[in-house]
């Protein structure tokens, strides 16, 4: 049996909820039906309304839904031929459904579900009656193109969710509320970290404070990669069509790429850093003694995403990958994969992220032989087993050029995000005819790994914003210390304190506005500045500062030099 606790249970339950919502909408408005599936955590239905719906009206629809539940209408499955189904949709002016059915095979049996006066094209299954729905809520309203196509009509999508118990719904709504408070788009605005503009949809603008965090993440990355034996390169963003044909992107990835023309030739904007990196490798002779060769690149890539799927910094059209390509002997693969896993683990620990690991195997659309895929997949699996890392297997979810290990971060709300990845690639070295000279003096083919730790800097940044709810650890905080003189007469000492911290490399601000101390402190709290230093007569006389921490509150007087010493140490160890 499928109950709510099964993986498919919520789908059935919420899909019925979406039908009940559609029925309520049809009772209240002149509207045409689009599609209405269940989704993760809820459901939606797309409608074309005669008069655009406003957010306030969701309550009215919800009330009507409650009546339909009250009526406890039995839900029946009805089968029709394709012609009967088309006729039904024609009679009821359901143009969108008509379009869907007309694309089905002529001999197909088509199922509808009926509850009371309402009937909808649907494969099911559904609950036995509308009365089985217990707790539901309509959450939001959005625009959605019919079939996700910008050239088709814009419909209105109503999102909702449903649970078998009221308590479950309430808990869910609470979690949502917490997520809303932590939404990186909201915090990004409040803390002035980044923005988006109509002039560049999906292309992020970093503001000075956001840039500070970004650079700190990069500095940390460079330090750790230098220690781990990586060399850094940079390759161009715009490269000739022939390169993308050679790499396979032209055939396999074109719909995600942007193009331009230079001197009457086709060029593409790189969606990945790999082909550029291959050209760098090919510039020199390589000996087996140089291996493993770890070549890193913080590379800016562009990938086309449909406008409807863009989401703050989480889903963008241009982003920087903390890429690296590792060239090695086939027998070094396991060792290198292990080293990358250790590096990834170290990074995630610094930020306090929990994570889980997934191994993805050969997808349908792929290049290379069965034997190569088998070999590559076994190598990744062997390392995971050896390191006693529990992992799940995603059949068919690998990249088109090789199997991969993905790292999924868990944020404070229990949501998971794919960030790090290690992709084995036995194919690109073939395509680019990469070689090294072996101990036998002959040319051989190196093995290769693509890997990222942060993944996309933009997405990782967004994750950090939500993870810390904007209260970044001191090493990342855009402003680490604010100095608050009590009155104008204390400004000179405040300036001296500022100067001392500034010359030690602390990101410090002096709030010398003519405002009350309480006001300035509240404002610094809102900006999530880790430390506020209040300076007055007493502080000036004793060369001290009154320290206030954003979470711990007043910490009392501290000698300036000892405060500075502690602060630098906290930054040094990346304390949270």
């Amino acid at each position: 049996m499928i109950t709510f606790d099964d993986s498919e249970g919520p789908d059935v339950y919420r899909h019925t909820a979406s039908h009940v919502m559609a029925q309520a909408v049809k009772r209240l408005y002149d509207a045409r039906l689009g599609i209405g599936p269940s989704i993760k955590d809820g459901f939606y239905y797309d409608f074309q309304f005669e008069q655009p719906l406003t957010l306030e009206e969701l309550e009215k629809i919800e009330k009507q839904m409650k009546e339909i539940v009250e009526e406890n209408l039995p839900i029946q499955r009805i089968e029709m031929t394709r012609d009967e189904a088309l006729e039904y949709c024609r009679q009821h002016n359901e143009d969108f459904k008509y379009e869907l059915i007309s694309e089905l095979d002529e001999n197909e049996q088509i199922s509808f579900y009926r509850q009371g006066e309402f009937m909808d094209l649907c494969t099911g299954p559904h609950l036995a009656s509308t009365g089985q729905l217990k707790a539901f809520k309509l959450l939001s309203l959005a625009g959605a193109y019919w079939r996700g196509d910008e050239n088709k009509p814009m419909l209105q999508r109503i999102y909702g969710t449903a649970f078998p118990k009221k308590k479950m719904l309430e808990e869910y709504l609470q979690r949502m509320e917490e997520a809303r408070k932590r939404d990186h788009r909201k915090i990004g605005r409040e803390l002035d970290l980044f923005s988006f503009h109509d002039e560049g949809p999906g292309f992020p603008f970093y503001h000075p404070k956001g840039m500070v965090i970004r650079r700190e993440l990069e500095n940390f990355w460079r330090d750790e990669h230098r220690k781990a034996g990586y060399h850094e390169v940079e390759t161009p963003i715009v490269l000739n069509r022939s390169l993308w044909e050679q790499s396979g992107h032209w055939d396999h990835y074109q719909e995600n790429m942007y193009f331009t023309r230079i001197d009457e030739q086709d060029f593409a904007i790189k969606p990945m850093n790999c082909p550029g990196s291959m050209l760098v490798y090919k510039m020199g002779m390589h000996s087996y003694r140089d291996f493993p060769l770890r070549v890193a690149e913080m590379g800016l890539v562009h990938r086309h995403e449909k406008s409807g799927t863009l989401h703050g910094l989480m889903r963008v059209r241009s982003f920087t990958q903390d890429d690296a390509h590792i060239f090695m002997l086939p027998e070094q693969i396991e060792d290198e994969v292990e080293k990358v896993i250790d590096l990834v683990d170290h990074f995630y620990q610094v930020f306090g992220f929990k994570y889980h690991v997934e191994l993805s195997t050969r997808p349908e659309k792929s290049m290379g032989s069965e034997a190569m895929w088998e070999k590559a997949t076994r190598a990744l699996e062997t390392v995971l087993i050896k390191k006693e890392i529990t992992f799940t297997v995603n059949e068919g979810d690998g990249a088109f050029y090789g199997p991969k290990i993905d790292f999924h971060l868990e944020d404070c709300l229990g949501r998971t995000w794919q960030c790090g990845t290690i992709q084995l690639d036995f194919q690109m070295p073939e395509k680019f005819d990469l070689t090294y000279i072996g101990p036998d003096g002959q040319k051989h083919r190196p093995a290769m790994i693509h890997r990222v730790v942060y993944g996309a800097m933009e997405r990782f940044f967004a994750l950090l914003i939500e993870h810390y709810a904007g209260a970044f650890p001191i090493w990342l905080a855009p402003v680490q210390v604010v100095i608050v003189p009590i009155t104008e007469r204390h400004q000179e000492y405040a300036r001296a304190v500022f100067q001392r911290l500034w010359e030690e490399g602390i990101r410090v601000e002096l709030d010398d506005r003519n405002e009350k101390v309480g006001f300035k402190i509240r404002e610094a709290q809102v900006k999530k500045v880790p430390y506020m230093l209040v300076t007055g007569d007493k502080e000036e006389e004793t060369n001290t500062v009154a320290v206030r921490h954003r979470q711990e509150g007043d910490l009392g007087l501290s000698a300036l030099e000892s405060f500075l010493h502690d602060l630098k140490e906290k930054i040094q160890v990346k304390a949270n």
């Binding site: 049996m1 099964d6 498919e8 499955r77 609950l127």
Partner: protein, 65 residues
Amino acid sequence: MTEMTGTDQSDQKLVNAHIFGFGTKQVRRGTTIHELLGEVSKKLQKEALAARINGKKVDLTHPVD
């Protein structure tokens, strides 16, 4: 998830329905899954949202045949 397998052609009127975890039950052909569950477990009948017969997802109003 528990699943069920149907069906047995040996008798015209009766059919054996096996519900994973709850054993086999002989019921009249055409009995709905919802009715069948009522005879097996009231709790399961109350909690079930849909079913699978031989792997295919169906409604609880689907007859056992």
